[in-house]
């Protein structure tokens, strides 16, 4: 098991370099010159442009810039943003907020999704099941910004139940509505995954055996049905944490949460290579790690899966 983890961690190294190189190249290739854009409608003289370009080392060839970036990463120096601040400060500021939001969203989607999915699966074909299927279909069909604006308008402005915007503190209460919005789509998927797996497993042989052995209904449901039904759900939820962190752009925008989404969006439109690459790099690392954790959870859920 330990060897497996080490091997996986070592595998991350080439993935990491390949991915950063790709991102760096892509940011480099985005058409349009970020330095010219800094000048706004007024533009700037060629001499000034050259001077600023040199400030940000953008006058170097691509590969030199990339190697510089990697050299910086080793010492945890992610470069400087156009506003003259270390990108590291931005990372430290933005990631905890988005991580908290994404974690809350994942918890919400997991608990509600599994709970509702379990009940629906056990009552396959009944009213509750059909209602849940229709509901999840609606959630999947409606774009997230619609859900977001609707929640903001109804809960925030109309009824005054929740804060309209979140701001820097991003406390638990502030993030509750955004987390529900962010988690809503995945909630629908988790619900459907759980429901199908449970519905299938209810009639499996080992469930009949367990019941025949005289085990209590709750124990059969939780230990036998649910545990086996969770494998696809955990895969989904695990990778979802990483995706939610990257995909929080819309939700963060609607609720004005100063997290990864907004900062990354701004950096992309301004074409700031250091900021974009640093943020995406951290996102990649998170994705790789959550993938690893998901794989390890398999073993916990199904003892037949062993890693060597």
């Amino acid at each position: 098991m330990a060897w497996y983890v080490v091997r996986r961690l070592l595998q991350m190294i080439p993935v990491f370099f390949g991915a950063t190189l790709l991102i760096y190249a892509m940011v480099f290739l985005i058409p349009g010159d970020p330095i010219q854009a800094l000048g706004g409608e007024k533009g700037m003289s060629p001499a000034l442009e050259a001077s600023i370009r040199a400030q940000f080392h953008l006058d170097q060839p691509f590969i030199v810039q990339y190697l510089d970036f990697i050299k910086g990463i080793v010492t945890l120096d992610f470069g400087t943003s156009f506003s003259g601040r270390p990108v590291r400060d931005e990372l430290v500021r933005a990631f905890p907020i988005t991580f908290r939001l994404a974690l809350m969203a994942v918890c919400i989607e997991f608990f509600f999704g599994v709970a509702f999915g379990l009940v629906a699966g056990l009552r396959k074909g009944k009213l509750f099941d059909s209602t849940m299927l229709v509901l999840s279909l609606i959630i999947i069909a409606v774009p997230i910004f619609v859900v977001g604006f609707l929640a903001q308008y109804l809960l925030g402005i109309k009824w005054g139940l929740a804060p309209v915007t979140v701001g820097a503190k991003a406390s638990f209460g502030d993030l509750l509505v955004p987390a529900f919005v962010l988690g809503s789509l995945s909630f629908a998927y988790v619900l459907r995954l759980t429901r199908n797996a449970v519905a299938e497993n209810v009639s499996a042989d080992y469930v009949r055996t367990a019941t025949a052995k005289g085990l209590g209904r709750p124990r059969v449901i939780v230990v036998h049905i649910l545990r086996n039904s969770l494998i696809p759900v955990v895969t989904f939820v695990g990778t979802d944490l990483g995706f939610l962190m990257g995909g929080a752009v819309v939700t963060e925008g609607i609720f004005n949460i100063p997290g990864v989404g907004g900062t990354l969006y701004q950096a992309i439109t301004r074409g700031e290579p250091p900021t974009v690459v640093a943020f995406v790099t951290v996102l990649i690392v998170i994705l790789l790690l959550t993938n690893l954790i998901v794989d390890l959870l398999y073993a916990a859920l199904d003892p037949r899966i062993r890693y060597a």
Binding site: L38, G253, P258
Partner: protein, 531 residues
């Protein structure tokens, strides 16, 4: 591992979420004495010579006092300057009042001269570098590598006096002195230019308090300030928003006191939502459609006819109403109708009125010179909310002239600027101009003078250049405005580009503030917002 592991993992997850929550649940208790206004993360550090966009600019103007300041109507008044004397509008002598920076150091002649020299020196890479173009010796600090470190036109006489020599007379220079790049800088800045921008020290009506990046900037009244625009509130918080929709939602719920842009989605309802707290105000900002003279069919006599025809084919009135609900008004000249010296009904300004018959006639006339082929494309940046009106303009042109006309989106502002600066765009494009200081001459020189850095359309006419130089050297502003009117007549004769809309600000205030007015520049009169 058994089921316990799963429960443990889940429990750990909840615990982690709970802990992060507990660490940050101390919301509330905000200092709501501050006036909450909308803002955004500045693009660059808060150094006046380096800030050229509105989010940084709105803060910088609160933190600094220049030789002059502009009141809400755009009139320039002395601030740190005791007097600015000149006989020929080329050689100026500036005398200062006694004044202090917020760190206690005095504001001296050197504070100004050093700051300007720093801003102008190309190797310092300051975005507002071009503000100093008119000063003698600017070209030497601009060459790469620079031939001099300081401008020869600036001389310190004593602590309270310095002189400025310009390359040639300028009617505008005195007025410009209220503009941010001309603010003075304390010694602390020159010791650590990099760190200063995140923790600035100024001499204005407010002093810097905190900057939480991407979240807010707070400024508090400066007790030592004794200029003409003292703060009438207990401080300002610039709340940074990722979208105006969110800012508007906050305004409605009372979490924001003043908002200077109503989002497009609320334009039809905001007057009903806000009642007498809705704000309208015409400002010095205009949108144009330009086309560079190297594009086929748009040079010489043919180009003039085609630009006039297109201009007359645009139903500005209708587009302003339908799309912008009155927050835009049709342009009346090449500058902005709110600026001092604006003259309505200049000869040739008929070309800005919707006149389908005349438009068709002019287009046909142009076709006799060289028959039209292809599609008339208008480029715009898709990240700036321009699609609707560009499509409407294209439609108006299409329906009137019976030619193919379409909007051509560029993903971002910088994509569009690139091809404009490289002169390779090959089609018409939108551009906007917002006055930095309240002067029609800024528009006329920056946009249309031969070889000017912001001359997007590559327009050039010796007659126009001559008139503009003559206006700059005029004895009084009134005379200068007269000559500027003649110069604009030349622009109309050549139809240098196609002015489309002037802006009206649509904004709002919450019921917590008694008064919040918008100034000539489109920003709030921040000092005078009362809570």
């Amino acid at each position: 591992m058994r089921i316990k592991t799963i429960t443990a993992v889940i429990a750990a997850g909840i615990l982690a979420a709970g802990l992060t929550v507990a660490g940050c649940s101390s919301s509330g208790g905000d200092n709501t004495d501050l006036v909450l206004v909308n803002g955004g993360e500045p693009q660059r550090p808060l150094v006046p010579t380096d800030v050229n966009e509105n989010m940084g600019g709105r803060v910088v103007d609160r933190l600094w006092a220049g030789l002059k300041y502009y009141d809400a109507n755009g009139t320039a008044r002395n601030e740190v300057a005791q007097s600015i004397d000149t006989t020929d509008r080329q050689h100026y002598k500036v005398t200062l009042k006694d004044w202090k920076f917020t760190d206690g150091t005095p504001v001296t002649a050197k504070s100004f001269v050093d700051a300007w020299n720093y801003g102008a020196l190309v190797t310092n890479g300051q975005l507002q570098n071009s503000a100093f173009t008119e000063i003698a010796g600017y070209d030497d600090v601009q060459s790469n590598p620079p031939k001099a470190q300081t401008m020869s036109g600036l001389k310190v006489l004593d602590d309270h006096t310095f002189t400025v020599d310009l390359k040639e007379p300028s009617i505008d220079f005195e007025l410009e002195l209220g503009y941010a790049p001309f603010y003075p800088m304390p010694d602390a800045f020159f010791k650590d230019p990099k760190g200063f921008g995140n923790n600035p020290i100024g001499n204005g009506p407010y002093k810097f308090s905190t900057w939480e990046h991407n979240v807010k900037i707070e400024v508090l009244p400066n007790p030592d300030y004794h200029g003409g625009r003292p703060a009438k509130n207990k401080g300002l918080r610039f709340v940074m928003y990722q979208s105006y929709d969110t800012a508007y939602a906050d305004l409605l719920q009372g979490n924001l006191d003043a908002l200077d842009i109503i989002p497009d989605t609320a334009l039809t309802t905001y007057e009903k939502d806000l009642g007498d707290r809705a704000i309208h105000k015409p400002i010095a900002y205009s949108q144009h459609i330009g086309i560079q003279s190297n594009v086929p069919h748009f040079s010489g006599e043919e180009g003039v006819l085609r630009r006039k025809a297109i201009s007359m084919a645009i139903n500005r009135e209708q587009i302003a109403q339908n799309i912008f609900h009155g927050t835009r008004v049709p342009c009346q000249d090449f500058t902005a109708f709110t600026l001092p010296g604006f003259r309505p009904n200049l000869p040739g300004s008929d070309a800005l009125k919707f006149n389908p018959d005349e438009a068709k006639k002019l287009w046909a006339q142009a076709n006799t010179i060289s028959p039209w082929s292809g599609t008339y494309e208008i480029a715009y940046n898709a990240d700036g909310g321009h699609q609707a009106w560009i499509e409407a303009v294209a439609n108006s042109v299409k329906n009137t002239l019976g030619i193919e006309a379409v909007g051509a989106p560029y993903p971002t502002f910088k994509n569009l600027r690139d091809v404009i600066t490289d002169k390779t765009i090959g089609k018409a494009f939108r551009y906007g101009w917002q006055g930095d200081y309240p002067s029609i001459f800024e528009y006329l020189t920056q946009l249309f003078l031969t070889g000017s850095g912001s001359n997007n359309t590559l327009y050039s006419n010796p007659e126009y250049d001559r008139l503009l130089h003559q206006a700059e050297a005029a004895a009084t502003p009134e005379q200068a405005y007269d000559i500027a009117a003649q110069a604009q007549t030349v622009l109309f004769k050549d139809m240098a580009d196609i002015p489309v809309f002037d802006y009206n600000v649509a904004g709002g205030r919450s019921d917590k503030v008694k008064k919040a007015e918008i100034t000539w520049s489109g920003l709030f009169d921040f000092e005078n917002i009362e809570k």
